[in-house]
């Protein structure tokens, strides 16, 4: 039993990171119907920005918060620039064109980073003493607790922005019907930029969190988590924000259980098998609905 709970907690923490990345995938898809395959690399950039903050600026809890804020801001700006330069000119092009461009942006980010920092792994110094708590037979790392707490905070903040603020409502309106949104006087370009900014900021936060959790970062670190977050978004129902949250957590927990109870060699295979399964059984995702339009 205690092993089960232990695995569950590990799964929740890695799942939180997937969920944060998956949110960006799903919001961008919701608004411009693009699978932004460069999104995992924005997460990588976030990890590096966090690394430089913690090594150069400040350590401790203050250092962590500073690293999160700066990484989120930097990634938000990066996301907006990528959208303006790479995707906006292709707004009316076929979707496959934009998809291939996203892959190009992904490689561009990876190898630009390799050029500047080298391809090898770097050790991310822990910003604070990693305390271990023990309750019953279950161990909590401080970093696990921080990941889950920060994720919950960011998700609540996101819910507030999307549900309550004017910009968040505009975002949902543009997702539902861009032309009708224009008729309301909503600036569609600005709304799309805002969506990229928020999604990228969440990925940046995820990068910092994973850095302090695994203490290791590298320029190609975004590929696999990016792919898994994409699977999480599809699993929950792409374009649906609660779906990404739910999908991310589920994928994290499933992967951890696969590693714990079957073999760690199987953990990735199980996640990819799940993608195939969901695409066959319910392509719109677990929370997705087959929407019928009223005429």
């Amino acid at each position: 039993m205690s092993q089960f709970i232990q695995q569950l907690i590990n799964g929740l923490s890695i799942g939180s990171v997937f969920a944060l990345i998956a949110l960006g995938y799903t919001m961008v898809y919701g608004i411009i119907k693009l699978i932004n395959f460069a999104h995992g690399d924005i997460y990588m950039v976030g990890a590096f920005v966090g690394y430089f903050c913690i090594t150069r600026l400040a350590s401790g809890f203050f250092g962590l918060i500073l690293a999160l804020v700066i990484a989120m801001a930097a990634c938000a700006i990066l996301g907006v620039i990528i959208e303006k330069v790479a995707y906006k000119p292709l707004r009316n092009a076929s979707r496959i064109t934009a998809l291939i461009t996203a892959m190009g942006v992904s490689y561009f980010l990876q190898y630009t980073m390799v050029y500047f920092v080298g391809p090898s792994k770097r050790v991310m110094p822990a910003p604070f003493e990693n305390t271990v708590f023990k309750i019953g037979g279950i161990t909590f790392n401080l970093s696990t607790v921080i990941i889950i707490a920060v994720t919950i905070f960011l998700m609540l903040l996101l819910q507030y922005v999307v549900k309550r603020t004017k910009m968040g409502k505009a975002m949902r309106a543009v997702s539902a019907d861009p032309d009708a949104a224009r008729l309301m006087g909503i600036n569609v370009n600005q709304t799309i930029s805002f969506t990229f900014a928020i999604g990228s900021a969440l990925a940046g936060a995820a990068g910092v969190l994973i850095g302090i959790h695994y203490n290791s970062i590298e320029p190609l670190m975004g590929t696999i988590p990016g792919l898994k977050a994409f699977i999480a978004a599809v699993f929950g129902g792409i374009g649906i924000i609660p779906g990404a949250m739910f999908g991310g957590i589920s994928i994290g927990v499933i992967q951890t259980f696969a590693a714990g109870y079957i073999s760690s060699l199987w953990q990735d295979a199980v996640v990819y098998a799940l993608l195939i399964f969901i695409l066959v059984v319910k392509p719109s995702g677990l929370l997705g609905k087959n929407v019928k339009e009223k005429v």
Partner: protein, 236 residues
């Protein structure tokens, strides 16, 4: 000077000429209707006015300002609001949120509240359903929501594209009586309709379109009685 003046308006979709030089005007306080068969260019005319489609030639003047040089956002700001064909309400958002989107460019919370009360007065059902997901409304309620949403921008000119489409006759009647009320409240209306009989019955003036051109115009009553119109559009 007319409130809305359209001169030699042309609009092309690629090589297809949808509008081939339209001239028309709408005066303050009128209901003007634009009738004609499917594909005559009625909706294209509205889309050109609201800035959703780029025009290929001619001018659109609204109180002397040239709309064709503005983007869709500024056109809403100067007081032109369109209810698109097929309602196009925001699914997944509540009825109230849909209405709030209509007031997107307005700042004064008090005045927005007044507009909301006015919309609820026109369409009491929307008040009862304000918390409900807009996608779950019936077709008639969605049409009311789309009209209410457009009114939330407090437009001087309301563009209505096929408000009767797909609605039961009894609903069509009530929608049209609300359109007359909206005019009474001081909003000018430009109405595109396939239901020519209904449209002519409430319109002050009408234009008849055929394949991208205006072929007839006159006041509502005159056109209703004209033999040509009776044959072509009123089924007899």
């Amino acid at each position: 000077m007319a409130m809305l003046e359209i001169k030699k308006l042309e609009l092309n979709y690629g090589v297809i000429k949808a509008l081939k030089g339209i001239d028309m005007e709408v005066n303050q306080g009128e209901i003007v209707t634009l009738i004609g068969a499917n594909g005559a260019g009625k909706s294209s005319t509205l889309k050109a006015i609201s800035g959703i489609e780029k025009i290929s030639g001619g001018e659109i003047l609204f109180n002397g300002e040239e709309l064709s040089k503005m983007n869709a956002q500024d056109i809403v700001k100067v007081g032109v609001s369109q209810v698109p064909e097929g309602r196009r309400i925001f699914a997944g958002m509540s009825v109230l949120e849909n209405l709030e989107m209509g007031a997107y460019l307005r700042k004064d919370a008090e005045e927005i509240k007044e507009s909301l009360e006015l919309v609820y007065k026109h369409f009491p059902i929307l008040k009862d359903r304000s918390k409900q997901n807009a996608a779950t409304l019936s077709g008639g309620e969605q049409q009311m929501l789309a009209m209410g949403r457009a009114l939330m921008s407090k437009p001087k000119l309301l563009l209505l594209d096929e408000p009767s489409m797909g609605l039961a006759p009894i609903l069509v009647k009530s929608i049209f009586s609300i359109i007359s009320d909206i005019k009474e409240q001081g909003t000018t209306v430009l109405l595109v309709e396939q239901n020519a009989r209904m449209a002519l019955s409430i319109a002050d003036r009408a234009y008849v379109m055929e394949t991208g051109k205006i072929v007839l115009s006159g006041n509502g009553k005159e056109l209703m009685d004209s033999e040509e119109i009776q044959k072509a559009y009123l089924g007899g």
